[in-house]
């Protein structure tokens, strides 16, 4: 079967408020990805942009960044959703044979709008929006469901926050790396019970880009390829009221598909590093279960075992994860960029020694309605 590789990755710094325009952020990420790949914009056959009109405060936000994305005289397609889905779609466009190389770039400036109003806008306007539901309120409902089902505690959630913020100290791209104690997290300001301030990811600005190539296209670049070994995506119900919020069946389906392609039978043993979408601390425990790293209801146990810490058997989010920087839509593509750096051995201070196989995960929609998973290896 035809193969597809990530040939280059680029990330801007992720900050709470950037003065840069979208164009400047996108250009910086694209240039960084091309430079990492050891190629030029002329080596790119088609461009895929990832953006969201509500976050950007404009319609066809995807088209407005075409100059910076290097899409002049090229075909541009768009994903309005997390960047991991952009990467999966980009891989498909590359595998389909129409294009040998694809550039995927995602951007967001969470600072320019109002998070709660924008995420309120994703819900049904007749029955749900008037209740003021936003991403964090929905997450609190999911966190509570998870606690009820598994017996996980607020301390368990806090331990994820401590681990990921600590990891973030070693990632120069993120803005919220810090040393916290469990007590610091538990005593931080209540946002939406049971979630406190340090259980919630920050609102960040930034952009990320990846260069994808099939075997023919890969020859254009100097960088060594990081091959996509498997990928999968799956959606659960849009309406939260139709879902068991503590059930991860969409992530199970997405990851099993990716594992099947990659020939992975025991992900906990066979993966070397995982970068997953921890928009809220509890999500990491829930996604452990969905990814098959822990049995159902045993996410907290895996966390408390230390296996997912730096130096553990399977470090999760050595980058600091989404808790350390959350540029919406960009965050999933940043997970992929980090996974690529890990398997290439280029992750600097956050490198997991000897990493050969990494998993990147992204989510879209409230409470992880949709999941995308990519397994990457050298």
């Amino acid at each position: 079967m035809e193969k597809v590789a990530v040939m280059g990755v680029g990330q801007t710094s992720f900050e709470r408020e950037k003065d840069d325009t979208f164009e400047e952020m996108v250009f910086e990420a694209v240039q960084a990805a091309l430079s990492d790949a050891g190629g030029k914009i002329g080596d790119i056959d088609n461009v895929l942009t990832v953006s969201n009109d509500f976050w950007d405060g404009r319609t066809i936000s995807s088209m407005s960044v075409m100059y910076a994305a290097g899409a002049w005289d090229k075909d541009v397609s768009t994903v309005e959703g997390d960047g991991i889905f952009g990467a999966i779609y980009g891989a498909m466009r590359t595998l389909a044979g129409s294009f040998d190389t694809t550039l995927v770039v995602a951007h967001a400036k969470g600072s320019m709008g109002r998070m709660n109003l924008i995420t309120n806008g994703m819900f049904d306007p007749i029955y749900q929006r008037p209740l003021g539901i936003d991403a964090t309120m929905a997450a609190a409902l999911q966190a509570r469901c998870y606690m009820e089902r598994t017996g996980a505690t607020e301390e368990d959630f806090a331990s994820v926050s401590v681990k990921n913020h600590r990891n973030g100290c070693r990632n120069p791209h993120v803005h919220l790396g810090m040393e916290l104690s469990i007590e610091d997290v538990l005593r931080s300001r209540k946002i939406s019970d049971p979630l406190k301030l340090y259980d919630c990811s920050p609102i960040s600005d930034g952009a990320a880009a990846v260069v994808l190539a099939n075997e023919r296209g890969a020859k254009r670049f100097a960088q060594k390829p990081a091959w996509i070994r498997g990928m999968g995506h799956c959606s659960d119900s849009y309406t939260l009221g139709y879902r068991d919020l503590a059930n991860t069946r969409a992530l199970q389906a997405a990851s099993r598909k990716a594992y099947g392609m990659a020939g992975i039978a025991d992900p906990l043993k066979e993966l070397d590093v995982v970068e997953l979408y921890d928009a809220y601390s509890y999500m990491e425990l829930l996604w452990y279960e969905g990814l098959g790293l822990a049995a159902e209801g045993r996410g907290a146990e895996l966390m408390m075992s230390g296996a997912t810490c730096m130096g553990g058997d399977l470090p999760v989010n050595p980058s600091g994860g989404v808790l350390s920087a959350h540029p919406v839509l960009v965050a999933g593509l940043a997970r992929l960029a980090e996974a690529v750096l890990q398997v290439r051995g280029d992750a600097g201070e956050r490198q997991v020694a000897g990493a050969k196989t990494a998993l990147a995960h992204g989510i879209n929609g409230a409470c992880g309605q949709a999941h995308g998973v990519i397994v990457i290896g050298t």
């Binding site: 950037k18 003065d19 840069d20 325009t21 164009e23 400047e24 250009f27 914009i41 509500f54 405060g57 075409m66 100059y67 910076a68 290097g70 899409a71 002049w72 400036k109 600072s111 320019m112 709008g113 109002r114 109003l117 924008i118 806008g121 306007p125 007749i126 008037p130």
Partner: protein, 173 residues
């Protein structure tokens, strides 16, 4: 209301209410210098591409053709030429005021002398004989300027200055 005997129900709609979505759009350095110069000096600047030498007005940070960052600002004229125009007879809500702008009014894309791209703005005329592609115009500024594109009141037609043999039509090729 619903009448259970006849099985008829009044159909309902829910509006989005009074909530509004405020945004804060960054202009970047080039955009800020462009509007600050209009505000303070009533002059126009454009961004010049180091690759192809095209001058973009208003300025932007990236030349899409060359995929190059633009850093240099150069002065351009406050006079130029209409490259596309329309007289609006059916006005929509003015995003600045929330009320409909009185009709008719003239609007155009204007290529300022020294620029390679066209800037959209209002015209001072609705005269179909004069509002034409190729017509010469000059910027008229507001007395009180605040660093927004509406610091330009409109462009006034100055057909007496029509450039003999000037380019007719719009091309940035």
């Amino acid at each position: 209301m619903a009448d259970r005997k006849t099985g008829q129900t009044e159909l309902l709609y829910v509006t989005s209410g009074d909530m509004y979505q405020p945004y804060s759009y960054s202009l970047g350095r080039l955009g800020a210098e462009f509007l600050n110069t209009i505000k303070e000096e009533k002059r126009f600047l454009g961004a010049r591409c180091p690759g192809c030498n095209r001058v973009y007005v208003p300025p932007r940070s990236v030349c899409g053709r060359c995929h190059m960052k633009m850093e240099e600002l150069v002065p351009v004229s406050d006079e130029g030429e209409i490259v596309a125009c329309a007289i609006i007879e059916f006005g929509f809500v003015d995003p600045n005021t929330g009320i409909a702008r009185p009709v008719p009014y003239g609007t155009a894309f204007i290529r300022l002398d020294g620029a390679d791209t066209a800037l959209p703005h209002f015209l001072d005329s609705v005269d179909r004989e004069k509002v034409k592609v190729g017509a010469r115009v000059k910027a008229v500024f507001e007395e009180t300027r605040t660093g927004k594109i509406m610091d330009i009141k409109h462009f006034a037609l100055i057909d007496q200055y029509r450039r003999p043999g000037g380019s007719n039509g719009f091309s940035v090729e």
